[in-house]
Every structure is written in C-alpha cells, then in structure tokens.
C-alpha cells in the first residue's frame, strides 16, 4: 500500500514508530498528484515547495517526541479559507491574486500542528454550487468516473481525498457542500453543529449556515480531525462557548438500543432506486447492530430548499458586497466609481454567483423583505422545531445524503433548479444548525458511490460518529478505492 492511500491514524502510528518518514509520505502524495491530478483536477494551488519546507519541521517534532495528531500528515484545504501568504481564490476571478495577510482559525490549528499543507482545493465559486462546475478555474472530476462531477461545493477537497492526493482535507458546508460530494465520491464528510468550529477566516457565503468540517477516508479520521479543529474561538462570536469533547472517545462504542429516526418525508416515491436500496440496506445493517429504527416526521421538509435559497442568498448578497475593486483582488478600470464597481463585479463574478446576489438582493428589498426574508426566517424556525421534536424520540436521524449518485458533467449545469435539488437531503440540516455525517453505504449499478447521512442533535457529534463508526466497521464500502 502506498503511503498516500493511508488514513491519518494509520500514518500516525507508522510515523510515531519511525517506520516511515514525513518525507516518504509527502513523496508518495506528490507522486500521486503527479500521476492523477491532470485528470482529477482537484487543486487550484499546489503548495509543493511549502510542503517540503514543512516536512523537516514536522519530522523534527516527531523525532523529539512532540508530535501532535496531525504532525507530518498531508492535508488539503478548500480554497475558501484564508491562508497567510498563500493565494486564496474562492475559485473566483474577483479575488484575482489575493494573498491573505492573515490566517483562518481552522487552518491555523492545522498548520500549528505542523501538518503538511498539500494545496488549496477547487470549489464552486464562493462555495455556490453542487458540482464544482461553477469554479472559474476548472471542473473537478469524480475519481470513480472522470465524466462525472465529484459533487460540490467542496468537490476539490473530496476528490483529492478519494483519489489519494492527500490524506484528509477540510471543506465547508452551507447546504451540503461537504456531505453531498463525500457521498458522491465514496468517502466520509462531517458537517459539525453550527458554532462548533470557528468560521474566522472562512470566506463567508451564508454566515448563519456556513460551517467547516473534515473530509476523510474513514470515520475515525473524521473524529481525529474534529479533535483538532473544533472549539470556541474568541474571534468568532457565533462559535459556541462550549467545551469540545474527545470526539475519538465515541469510536468503537456499540449502538445497541440506539434509536434511529427514519423521516418519512425523505423516502419519497420516485427516488433513485439504487440509492434507496443502499440506504434501506444500511438501515437494516444498523438494526442488525442493535439499533432500533423508528419512523419520524419532519413535516416542513418540502419548504427547505425554498427557505435556504432565500436566506442563503440574502446573506450572500451582503457578504459578497465587499468585492468591489477598491481594496484587493480584481479591479476593472472605468471612468468613474459606479462604473468601476459594475465592470469589476461584472467581470469578476460568475453566472451562479450573480444569480444568487440578485436573488438575495431582491429578497431583502424594501417591500419584499416581509414576504421573503422574514417569512424564510419563520420557516427556518419551523424546520428547526421539526428536528427538535423528532429528537425527543430518537438519538439520530438517518437519510440518504444525496438523491442520486454522481451525475455527468454538464448534465445539470444549465438547470439551476435541478442542481439545487441535489442538496434536498442535506439543506435542512444546515437550516436547523444540527450536525450531519455522510458515510459510504453502497454503489449504484453504474459503480458510483452512495452515501448514508446520519444526523444528530445540536452538539451531538459524538453520537453520529459512534453510529457512523459502528456502521462503517461492519461494512467494507469505505475500503474501496477508485481505479485511476
């Protein structure tokens, strides 16, 4: 087995026992990148030079017994997190040549452990999309089928992990952007509780929904990453002032008697048969492991997508106002200020970003605010209440992560509504602010991965990690790797 195919915890043992060196690990990772990246196109920026520079420091830390969980582990970072001194693009032309003068809290925690930063990964521009087709650089390919999308918006991070171009990655999830691509690429993706992980330095798309989370090859690695990135941050007022548990402590606990809720609104007629079969089998597996399946209802599910596209775009229209050509990034010359604004934003933003800015601007406009934004907030509360009341009867809720396997590049690119529907099972989780994890649970007839979503209560990451780990350890889906 090549070192780049290993997990964080697997490598950790080898590194700490000095059976391998950081350099050997890094060589294998970049060797893999050299052989597959021109087909996968997971990265926007590859930081090979900086990675090799850090190799020595990481090795020194290991040799002197000061190694942390991620010391010497090659990690990829979604390119919407600010990394001091390293180009940060959000896959947008409007941030042309933008090199942040400061570090995001999460990447600071990762780099603080002397992980090896492999590179910054591709995404839909400003994380707006479900396929990475909205990247202004290139479309990332699904390692299981290069004609298919990897999902999005964290498609680059997910494809890099699935293709063995890094050991693990971080992504951001606003409506499913970690879990949906993880499902489509057959790996693990966790969206923590809103407020569990600092957003400081994460370029905002929708502030009340965005959350950073781990993208890993298995559940144990996701727990390990959570141990590093979670925690209150005084620089983020929305990060919760609660102590972080040891997420890895949940691993290996059995799930006898665990009550799993199956929301009736998520298993609807006409859903993809292969997905439904894989998920039904997974629920059966969980029951075999001692869990008790209960039907629950999340009655406002049908309003989730509409609610999301009002609230997320409203916040986005304001969050993205700062890209105006005045301070950093792209500036298109013009005869006066208004033209400079207009030319810069016309050229710098892609079609989907413009669409969402316009939607959000409209929803907040005087005369429409009550009918859209305010109503959206009210429905959001109802959706949150749905989860609260369901969680009175169950410990976790289990659903498909995505309604289908990976779709073909171009298939939905011209139909935004179809594209939006690919997040139908993940969006409510962000609106409710609860955590959700996607674990591999099967394959479609075309050989494309299917993911199982396990949703927890607020700050209930340990329980979903426990359930996901128990499921994963009794199946072999997570061990399959795409042949590239």
């Amino acid at each position: 087995m090549k070192l780049n195919e290993m997990t964080i915890l697997g490598l950790r043992k080898l590194l700490d026992k000095r059976e391998v060196t950081v350099r050997e690990v890094v060589d294998d990772v970049y060797g893999r990148i050299d052989s597959v990246e021109d087909r996968v196109k997971a990265f926007i920026t590859i930081t090979r030079e900086e990675a090799y520079k850090n190799t020595e420091r990481a090795q020194e830390a290991i040799d002197s017994g000061r190694a942390s969980l991620l010391t010497g582990i090659p990690i990829a970072i979604k390119d919407n997190m600010c990394t001091k001194g390293i180009l940060t693009t959000c896959a947008s032309q409007i941030l042309h040549n933008f090199v942040p003068p400061y570090e995001s809290t999460v990447t600071g925690k990762l780099r603080g452990q002397d992980c090896v930063l492999v590179g910054k990964t591709n995404l839909d521009e400003f994380a707006m999309g479900s396929s990475t087709e909205n990247s202004s650089f290139h479309t990332t390919r699904n390692p299981w089928n290069l004609d298919c999308v990897p999902g999005g918006s964290s498609g680059g991070s997910v494809a890099a992990v699935a293709a063995g171009e890094c050991i693990a990655a971080v992504g951001s999830d606003t409506g499913g952007s970690i879990r949906q691509p993880a499902s489509l690429c057959g790996i693990v993706g966790l969206k923590p509780t809103y407020g569990r992980v600092s957003r400081y330095g994460l370029v905002a798309f929708a502030s009340s929904l965005d959350q950073i989370g781990p993208i890993t090859k298995d559940v144990a690695d996701a727990a390990a990453m959570m141990n590093v990135i979670a925690g209150h941050d005084p620089l983020d007022s929305t990060s919760a002032p609660v102590a972080s548990p040891d997420f890895m402590a949940a691993l290996g606990r059995d799930i006898k008697g665990l009550r799993i809720g199956i929301p009736r609104e998520y298993f609807i007629e006409g859903m993809d048969q292969d997905v439904e079969k894989s998920v039904r089998d997974a629920i059966k597996k969980l029951e075999d492991l001692g869990a008790r399946a209960v039907e629950v209802s999340l009655p406002h599910t049908q309003y989730a997508i509409a609610t999301y596209y009002i609230l997320a775009t409203s916040e986005a229209s304001s969050n993205l106002a700062r890209y105006d050509g005045v301070k950093y990034g792209l500036r298109e010359p013009a005869k006066d200020l208004i033209d400079m604004y207009m030319n810069t934003r016309a050229k710098g933003f892609g079609a989907e970003v413009k669409r969402r800015i316009m939607l959000g601007t409209y929803a907040l406009s005087s005369g429409y605010y009550d009918a859209y934004y305010k109503k959206g907030q009210q429905v959001r509360t109802l959706i949150k209440n749905d989860f609260d009341s369901a969680f009175r009867d169950v410990d976790v809720i289990v659903t498909p992560t995505a309604p289908t396997g990976a779709f073909r590049i171009g298939e939905k690119a011209t139909d935004p509504l179809q594209m939006y529907l690919s997040d139908i099972f993940t969006i409510s989780v962000n609106l409710a602010g609860v955590p959700g994890i996607s674990v591999p649970c099967g394959f479609t007839r075309e050989g494309l991965p299917v993911g199982l979503q396990i949703i927890g209560k607020h700050f209930g990451e340990e329980t979903i990690l426990q359930a996901a780990h128990a499921f994963e350890q009794s199946t072999e889906w997570h061990l399959r790797r795409p042949s590239l």
Binding site: N80, M81, C82, T88, C90, L95, F98, P100, P101, Y102, S104, R199, Y200, G201, L202, V203, A204, A206, S207, S208, P234, L235, D236, S237, T238, S314, E315, S317, S318, A321, R322, Y323, D324, V326, K327, Y328, L337, Y341, T361, L364, S365, S366, Y369, Y373
Partner: protein
C-alpha cells in the same frame, strides 16, 4: 418671499418642527469590532487590520466597553435599556465602507424612550429621545490634491458610534442649539464622547419641516446633513426654515429630500430626492450574537454615573443660591462646573465667582476659542484675587486688569498687583491731595455742580482716578469728594 411683505410676520405664521439625529463617537481606546486604536490624527491607514479593512473571511467581535458607554448614555438620558438588542446590516456601496455594509442597529436598538431637559426662556422643556443605537463609523474619502484619483483612509472605519435620535420636539433653531449643547454636556460629563464637532466626533443631521400654526399633521420634511460646527446648527436650520416657508408662500411644495449645508455659501443644497434614496436592505447581522444586558450590569453602570448637568444645576441653585440662569450656564460643561466649585471651596463668594466666570472668563475663552481646560489660570488664583477685592487691596476696576493678566500669564493676583504697582490707595491723605489738585483745576465744574448738576460727580471721580492710575479706593474717594463739594 414676495417683496414688500413683512418677512417676520410671515415667518410667525409657521410652526417649526425639528428632530435631530446626532452621531457621537465613543471614547473607547479600541474600535467597536477589532482591537485597532481609535486615536484621531494618525497617518492614513495605519490604524487598520484585516477586520476593519473588510478582508474576506473576517468576523466582528463586540467591544463590550462600547456597549457600556452606550448604556451609560441611555441611562443619563432617561432611556429604557433593552435587555435584548441586536445588530443589523445596512447595505450600501461606498469606498469608505470596506464591507459595503455598515453594522448598525435597526429593529431592536439598545436604548429607547428617553428624554433630555433644556432651558428655554427660563422654562424647562423636555425633548424626547426616540432611541439610541450603536454602529460602526465609516472611513474617509480624500479627493483634494490627488489629481483625478480619490484616496481612502480607513483609520476611522470601525470607530464606535452612537446615534441619538430625538423626537420631533424642537420648535426653533435656538431650541435645537440648546439641545445640542445639552447633549454634548451630558456626553462629556459621562466621559463617553469628547463632543468635538469640528473634528467630527459629534455630528448632527436634522429633520425639519414647517406647518401653519394649528395644523395637526407635520409638513413635508427635509433632512439636513453636514452641519459640522456648533456655530452652524442655528444658522443652517434658520436658512432651511426660511427656504421652506418661502417655497410654500410662493405656492410651491416642499419636496422630501436630503439637503447638504454649505457653510461657505451659507445655504442648503439638494443632495438627493426621496426617489433616489437608498434601499438599505437592513437585515439582522448573522455574524454577531444578540446583545443581552442583564439587570445587574445596568445597576452597576447606574451606580457609576456621575452627577449629571440637571442634578448639578439644581444643586448649584440650592447649595450656592445661584439664579437658575447662572446655574444652568455653569453646569453645561462639567469642567466649568468643577472650576466654579473649586473657586468657591477656596473661600470665595459663589455669586462673585459666577459673575467673573460668566463675564470676563467666558468672554476671553470665547475670544481665544479655548475651553476652560486649556487655560493655566487656576480656581484658587481667582479666589486669591476676589479676596484682594474684598479686603480692599484692589478695586473692582483694577481687578479687571489683574484678572486678564492672570489669565494670560498664569501668575497670582498678588504678584501682578505688586509688579504693576496696582495696590489700591486707601490712605485718605494721599487721596485727599489728589482731590484737592483736581478741584483746584476745575472751578467751573465745581460751580455747575453746586448749581445742581450732580451728575458731574462722575467727572471728578474720573479725573482723580486718572491721576491715581485707577488705584484710589473708590469709597474713600467718593466720601471725600462729596464732603468737599457740598461745603
């Protein structure tokens, strides 16, 4: 207005309605959402960081001191303090606003329903405070001397501001000016704002309308911006009122619009109409938690409040027996009030101190455009001078000269009197000699005096004073003159 009509008679037909929106920069050391310094006057863009520059990915963190200052202000202005308030984004594009939205408060402000008292024609008038909310200041665009480019200085970006919104309770420019003075006084008493309009730490926008007396509904209002000096509060409002009345009198209609005060030309100019007004698309700021203010905290702040202008005024009236006019004037500024009390504590008569302060001292401060903190003259020095008057060492007239010298040099009255030889002559024989000299030279005036022109006493006093360089004890002089002239 039409020619030949009595302008002031027409003006009197209309009732003026004014409400003020006052922006006050808070005197916190650091900005409202980051740790940058708020100090005024630094090199452009040296007091900035990723947060106040609006870099991608940054988040605001509330400065608790700023909230405390706003609560202090709210309590001092008799507001109720909201136990739960929140911030909102006000969206508009402008280069001095790096995020292109301003973090402000909209639906749930921190303070509401307050009132401030002003004194107009010896009557107390209560002005309602609609709300006090918090927000971040914007930077400054610099256009002058930069060719065809404009530059942006973001040092001021993120300095904490309070916006104090009054009810439309003000009925004249004078009331507005009095209200502004009172507001500034309170802010300075509290130590939350330095109240400097010229430097922009206190700014005033006015909503103005006029209506014929007796009309219930308000007239169409205009919003007046850029009143950037205390001098201009009354002037700008007076101009705008005259303009509105003359539009109405000429059969026109007031257009709801925003107008700018041009202090150089002394006029207000249209800036934008209601149709061109921004749609700010306010919505709750998702990056900040709601501000929750507990009763304990409010009680703690309340306890720490200093004596405020109104309380002080009332105390000055009872404790020092000052008339309300004097008490009001001496308590508008905390530094002035403190100065007064120190002089009284040094042993002087309160009314004498009040007279000197309201007369000579304030006149000189005005002339020099200084405030009382700027002068070296100390309250106990004034007390020393008043003592010399009481003891008859100098006359009240000489004291004026002495006081001005004290003000200019910071020396004690005694030293000035000694150096300039200004000690009052109370030696009767010396004064008598001077009186005799003058009488000898003025036989005609003596004759007219004795014939009944008693006003001529002033002439004799003046002549003797001139001869003694003003040093003759006025009482002795008077007695001597009357004795000799009435012979």
């Amino acid at each position: 207005m039409k020619n030949g009509v009595d302008a002031s008679a027409i003006m009197k037909k209309y009732e003026v309605v004014i409400g003020l929106e006052v922006h006050a920069q808070l005197l916190t050391d650091t900005k409202i959402f980051c740790r940058c310094s708020t100090k005024f006057g630094a090199e452009p863009n040296t007091q900035t960081c990723q947060v106040c520059i609006g870099m991608p990915g940054v988040l605001p963190v509330m400065n608790r001191k700023a909230i405390e200052y706003a609560i202090r202000t709210g309590l001092a202005m008799n507001c109720s303090i909201a136990p739960y308030s929140r911030f909102a984004r006000k969206n508009y594009f402008y280069p001095d606003l790096p995020k292109n939205y301003q973090i402000s408060q909209y639906e749930l402000p921190l303070c509401e329903h307050g009132l401030v008292e002003i004194i107009i024609d010896n009557e107390v008038k209560r002005i309602g405070i609609t709300r006090i909310h918090m927000e971040e200041d914007a930077g400054k665009n610099i256009h002058e001397g930069k060719g065809d480019h404009s530059f942006v200085d973001l040092n001021r970006t993120g300095v904490p501001l309070m916006e104090i919104v009054s009810e439309p309770d003000l009925r004249s420019p004078r009331e507005a000016a009095e209200y502004m003075k009172k507001l500034r006084g309170i802010l300075r008493y509290l130590g939350v704002c330095d109240g400097n309009m010229e430097q922009g730490s206190l700014r005033c926008d006015a909503n103005i309308s006029v209506r014929p007396f007796g009309q219930k509904e308000f007239g169409t209002r205009t919003e007046l911006k850029n009143i950037n000096s205390f001098k201009f509060v009354e002037k700008a409002l007076e101009y705008e009122i005259k303009r509105q009345i003359s539009v109405i009198e000429d059969g026109g209609k007031i257009i709801q619009e925003t107008r700018l005060w041009d202090s150089a030309a002394g006029v207000t100019l249209s800036m934008r109409s209601k149709e061109e007004a921004h749609d700010y698309r306010y919505f709750p700021e998702p990056d900040l938690a709601p501000v929750v203010v507990g009763q304990d905290w409010i009680a703690e702040i309340k306890k720490s409040l200093p004596e405020l202008p109104d309380e002080k005024r009332n105390r000055f009236m009872t404790q020092y027996g000052l008339p309300d006019h004097d008490a009001e004037l001496l308590t508008v500024e905390r530094a002035v009030a403190d100065w007064f009390e120190l002089a009284v504590q040094a042993g002087s008569q309160p009314k004498a101190v009040a007279n000197w302060m309201m007369g000579d001292l304030m006149r000189m401060l005005n002339e020099d455009n200084k405030s009382i903190e700027d002068v070296t003259l100390k309250p106990d020095q004034m007390a020393g001078m008043l003592k010399m008057i009481d003891e008859g060492t100098i006359s009240g007239k000489i004291a004026k000269t002495v006081f001005e010298a004290m003000y200019r040099t910071g020396k004690n009255a005694e030293d000035i009197v000694k150096e300039q030889g200004l000690v009052q002559i109370s030696d009767t024989s010396e004064i008598e000699k001077a009186v005799d000299d003058i009488l000898a030279k003025s036989p005609g005036e003596i004759e007219r005096f004795r014939a009944g022109d008693e006003k001529l006493i002033g002439f004799f006093v003046g002549q003797v004073m001139k001869a003694t360089k003003g040093k003759a004890n006025p009482k002795i002089l008077n007695d001597l003159l009357i004795k000799k002239l009435r012979v």
